[in-house]
Structures are given as C-alpha cells and as structure tokens.
C-alpha cells in the first residue's frame, strides 16, 4: 500500500511543518497581495498533508469513515473558493488604486 513511500510519519509531519512555517513567513513578508494568498495556500496545504499522513499512519481510528482524507479534500475545495473570492477583491483593489500592496492601503487608520 505504501510502496515507494517513506513509512516514517515524522518525515511527513516535518514537511508539513515546513510548509506551514514558510506559509506564515510568506504572509508576513510579501508586499504583493497575490503572493500573500499563495502563502495562505501553503499553510492550508501543510494542514492537508497532516491530515493525510495521520490518517494513513494511524489505522484503526476511523478507517471506515476516512475522516482525515475527507477533511483534506474539503481543504482543497475551500482553498479554491477562498482564492477565487480573494482574487476578485484584489482586482477591485487594483482597479481602485493601481497597486495591490497591502501596506499601502492606508485609508483606514487609527
């Protein structure tokens, strides 16, 4: 079942933690709203990877329901929906002020 895949859960968790950490770093440092949302996607993918890894390596908890796998599928769907709405908003921002740098959206302050 796991032919060709590592059987070490820790490796997967480490990879997902790296995804999540890079995602957070991207969100905090990017000067471009589209890049920023790519960081959010990275964070979500870290979570999805966690779910798949935990479900695969912890059999016997919920085999028949496959909650972890199903959750990761929903994460993918919701990430797509969120990206669609976010990009629509970014387009409006660009039309309004010819820049999509969130740091320069400064009309609301105080």
């Amino acid at each position: 079942m796991l032919a060709g895949l590592s059987t070490n859960l820790g490796l997967y968790l480490g990879l997902s933690a790296v995804f999540f950490a890079f995602g957070v770093l991207t969100v905090l440092t990017r000067k471009n709203a589209v890049g920023l949302f790519m960081g959010v996607e990275l964070m979500l993918n870290g979570a999805a990877l966690n779910f798949v890894a935990f479900q695969t390596f912890r059999p016997g908890t919920h085999d028949s329901w496959l909650h972890g796998h199903v959750f990761s599928l929903f994460i993918i769907i919701l990430a797509a929906i969120e990206a669609a709405v976010a990009l629509a908003i970014v387009l409006r921002v660009f039309a309004a002020r010819r820049t999509i740098d969130p740091d320069r959206a400064t009309e609301l302050r105080g």
Partner: protein
C-alpha cells in the same frame, strides 16, 4: 430522513437565498425583495420554534447536533439577520442594482451562522466558519465604489484566510493526537487518557484552534482587522458583523471547550441529584494546561485592547468597533469562570448586546446618511435636530456602558456574579476598571449629542430619512434595552433551558 428534518430550517433558508437571487433578475421591486427575505427568515424561525422541546439528538452520523443550545443560537442568528435586512432596507449605502445579490448573501450568511451553532464535528465547524467568512469578505466590500469599502474587504480577507488556515492546522494536529474529529469523541478520548500522558502538541493544537475562533469573536491578539473592517464596510453590514458572527463564534467556542474538554467536578449530573441548583455547577477543563490563566489573560487583554484604543477615536463607527472588541472580552469572562453561571451569563449578554449594538450602529448609519459623516462632530447638537435619534442613541450607549436600569447592566451583573462566585476577585477588579474606562468614550458621544452646539451644517437635499416605519423599528430596539434591564426572568428561563447541554440531558 430523520436528519433531514433537523436541517429543514437551513434548507428553507438556502432555498430563499437562491430564490431571491434569481427572482431579482426580473423583479426589481425593493419591497418585494425585502419581503421575500423576511418571509424566508420568518419561516425558518417558525420551523425552529416548532422544534422546541425535542430531546437532544445528533444527525448525519454525528456531524451535527440538535439541542436547545444550538436552537437558541439558530433563532438568534435568524433574528440578527432579520434586523440586518430591516436596517439595510432603508440605507443609502446599498446600491439599487445590487440589492437582490445583497439579500441573497445575507440569507446564505444566516445558513452558515446556524451551522456554526449546531456543528458537533470539527470538519463541519471549519466548513461553517469558512461559509460565514467568505460571505463576510464580499459583504464588507459590497460598496465597491468607495475605496474604503474595498480596502476593508481586502484587510478582512487577508486576516481571515490566515486565521482559518491557522485553525485548520490546529485541527489537523488535534486529529493526529486524538484520532478524533467529533467533539463528543474528543471528550471520550480525554476522559480515558490521563492528563499527564497527553503530549504538549495537544495544547499547541488547542492554541491554534483558539486563535482561529478568536478571530471570529475578535479576541486579542486576533482583533486587528475589526476596526478597519467595521469602519470601511457599509454600516448595516458592520452592525451585523459586530453581533452575528461574534455570537456564532461564541457558540462554537463554548461548545468546543465544554463538549470536548470538560470533566464535570461538582458535576452537573450530581448537582441535579443532590439538589444544588444547576446554575451553580462548575466544570474543569481537562489537561496539563493552565486553562484558567490562559482564558483570563485572553479575556483581560481583549478588554484592555478594545477600551484603551477606543479612547482616542473620533469616528463613531470606529468607537463602536473597538467597543465590540471590549465586549468580546467581557463575554470571554463567562468562559474563564468555567461555571454554568458563566455560560448563562454569556447567553444573556449576547442577547442584550444584539439589541444595544445594532441600535447604536443603526443610529450611526442614519446620522451618516443625513449629515454626510459619522464623526463626533456630526453628532454635536443632534438633540436639537433629531431628538428621537439622540434619545435612542443615549439609551443604546447607556446600555453598552452598563448603567442601570438598562439591559446592559443586567448582562454585566450576571457576568460579574459568575466571576465573584468563583472567587476570582482580582479578575473582577480588572473587568470593573475596564467598565469605568469605557464610560469615558461612550459619555463623550452622549455629551456631544446633548450639550454641544451643532458644528456641521446639515447638507441640503438629504431629507426624508426618518419615515414612521424606521422610527417604529428603532423604538422596537429601544424597548428590549429597557425591558430586559427590568424583567430578566423570562429571558433567564429561556437561557437555562438553552444551556441544558451542560447538565447532560
């Protein structure tokens, strides 16, 4: 089929949501759209009221749970959205050619709020939170000709998507530790696993999930988006944002903490048997984790962040936004007491908070419409121009401060009593200090309305904003603010029925 019966109200609401959207393509009549939306909300509320008294029941294989707690928050969400529809109907901020989309989104939002209150599974909770969030992003930017509105929606989507990503990562870790996603399943897991054998990863996971839910209720430090979004979004939308998602977030948070992590000590079940009133039962959140300190710190920080930042504001919408952060802090007090009395107090506070806050935002919206702005200077001398609005606003503000005999006072009283009942005197003192700080900025508005001379000229051509109907509805919001301050028993009876999940029945 049995499960379908329990989701029939949200199904009806989704049907109306789609219907309003499609019918709006042909029928441009505004009254028709408002009427249909209210009809859908009314029908939903009616279906819920017919479900009162049914025993607690899970549905869809444990994804959802139906109990009086969920029912309370479902009806509450319908009420808030109905108020939102009424407030929006007379607002100038919603453009005419987008009204059908607007009401359609509002009804869909209500569906999401309902599911937040009744989810018993973390996947369902995540889906409901995302439904509410994504619709909120679009609502915040609904007035897309105004730059501030677009900016508000961008800030909302940046913070919101990050918060939900953090939450879902926390859920994945919790799933890894426990192998469970169902809240009742989590409770069984924690009951059979000794506290000192839980890995520290559990508490990292809980912190991450708390951060995600804390964003919905705008608890510090996840509150930064709140003032910008409330100021930029159309005012009727801000009025709803400040109440509905916050209440649903509290419903989810309380259900998550109490269902998954609670071990009753002077337990509610035994309390019933031994005759201790259930309202005095307390519970312990499990684990090798300092829950009381964590919850108190989060609550205290939220109060101070909201109240101190509100002091220097001049925009009324911004003041109300910061005050809504502070109120989230007060409500968190109820959870940190870890007692049934605290939960009762939260439910009571949510209910009265709805009436006072929507009212205050509504008046702000009216003043914005007629004076061309919502700054303190636009409120100066309001009593000589629009006495009805000034007096109603004063009632809402007094209620927000918590001055007797208004409802806000009783809300705070219940919260403080829960805190004192658990002998957390220092924490009570912090909350009292915060109430005093908040007095300053609320009274600043009252002083401007009643004792200052008018500063801004009323722009010409902006009349006919106070129809009889609007004034009637505002009066309908004023009445509960006074009534619930004087007669709390009916509402408390309702709430003690709603909070029965904590007695195990």
């Amino acid at each position: 089929m049995r499960s379908l019966f329990y989701v029939s109200p949200p199904l009806l609401l989704s049907f109306f949501s789609v219907f309003v959207l499609i019918a709006g393509l042909w029928i441009r009549n505004h009254a028709f759209l408002v009427g249909t939306s209210l009809l859908g909300l009314g029908g939903t509320a009616g279906l819920y009221l017919s479900m009162i008294g049914k025993p607690a029941q899970d549905a869809f294989a444990g994804m959802l749970i139906f109990d009086h707690f969920g029912l309370f928050f479902s009806v509450f969400s319908v009420l808030v959205i109905a108020l939102g529809v009424i407030v929006s109907a007379r607002s100038r901020e919603i453009k005419e050619d987008r009204r059908s989309e607007y009401y359609s989104i509002l009804l869909a939002l209500c569906t999401g709020l309902i599911f937040m209150g009744i989810s018993n599974h973390l996947l369902m909770a995540y889906l409901a939170v995302e439904t509410v969030s994504i619709l909120s992003y679009t609502l915040a930017g609904f007035n897309r000709e105004r730059n501030v509105s677009v900016e508000a929606s961008m800030k909302y989507v940046v913070y919101g998507s990050m918060a939900s990503a953090i939450m879902v990562y926390g859920i994945s870790l919790l799933f890894g530790v426990t192998g469970e996603l169902e809240m009742t399943g989590l409770r069984e897991f924690f009951a059979k696993t000794p506290a000192d054998q839980l890995p520290h990863l559990t508490w990292i996971a809980v912190l991450l999930i708390f951060a995600g839910m804390g964003y919905k209720i705008s608890a510090a430090p996840m509150h930064m988006w709140t003032p910008d979004v409330y100021e930029g979004a159309p005012t009727p939308v801000s009025a709803m944002f400040s109440v509905a998602p916050k209440a649903a977030g509290f419903a989810l948070l309380v259900r998550f903490l109490v269902t998954a992590f609670t071990q009753p000590i002077e337990g509610s079940m035994e309390a019933l048997a031994t005759g201790i009133p259930v309202s005095q039962a307390s519970f312990n959140l499990v684990g090798n984790f300092n829950w009381p300190l964590f919850l108190m710190a989060s609550s205290g920080l939220t109060m101070f962040m909201g109240n101190l930042a509100a002091l220097s504001q001049v925009s009324i919408k911004r003041i109300l936004a910061y005050s809504s952060i502070a109120h989230a802090g007060y409500m968190l007090m109820g959870i940190s007491t870890q007692s049934t009395a605290g939960i009762y107090a939260i439910l009571f506070y949510v209910m009265v908070y709805c009436f006072m806050n929507i009212g205050a935002f509504w008046i702000a919206s009216k003043v914005d419409d007629v004076m061309g702005g919502d700054h303190l200077k636009h409120f100066r001398g309001l009593v000589s121009r629009k006495p009805f609005y000034a007096i109603s606003m004063a009632v809402f503000l007094f209620s927000l401060v918590g001055i007797p005999p208004f409802a806000g006072f009783m809300g705070k009283l219940y919260l403080f009593r829960a805190v004192i009942g658990r002998e957390m005197y220092f924490f009570g003192l912090i909350a009292a200090i915060n109430s005093v700080i908040s007095l300053y900025y609320y009274m600043k508005i009252v002083k401007a309305m009643f004792f200052d001379a008018p500063e801004v000229e009323m722009p010409a051509g902006k009349t006919a904003f106070d129809s009889r109907l609007t004034m009637t509805f505002i009066a309908l919001l004023v009445i509960p603010n006074i009534m619930f301050g004087l007669f709390t028993d009916p509402l408390m009876a309702l709430i003690s029925e709603a909070a029965r999940i904590f007695t195990g029945s």
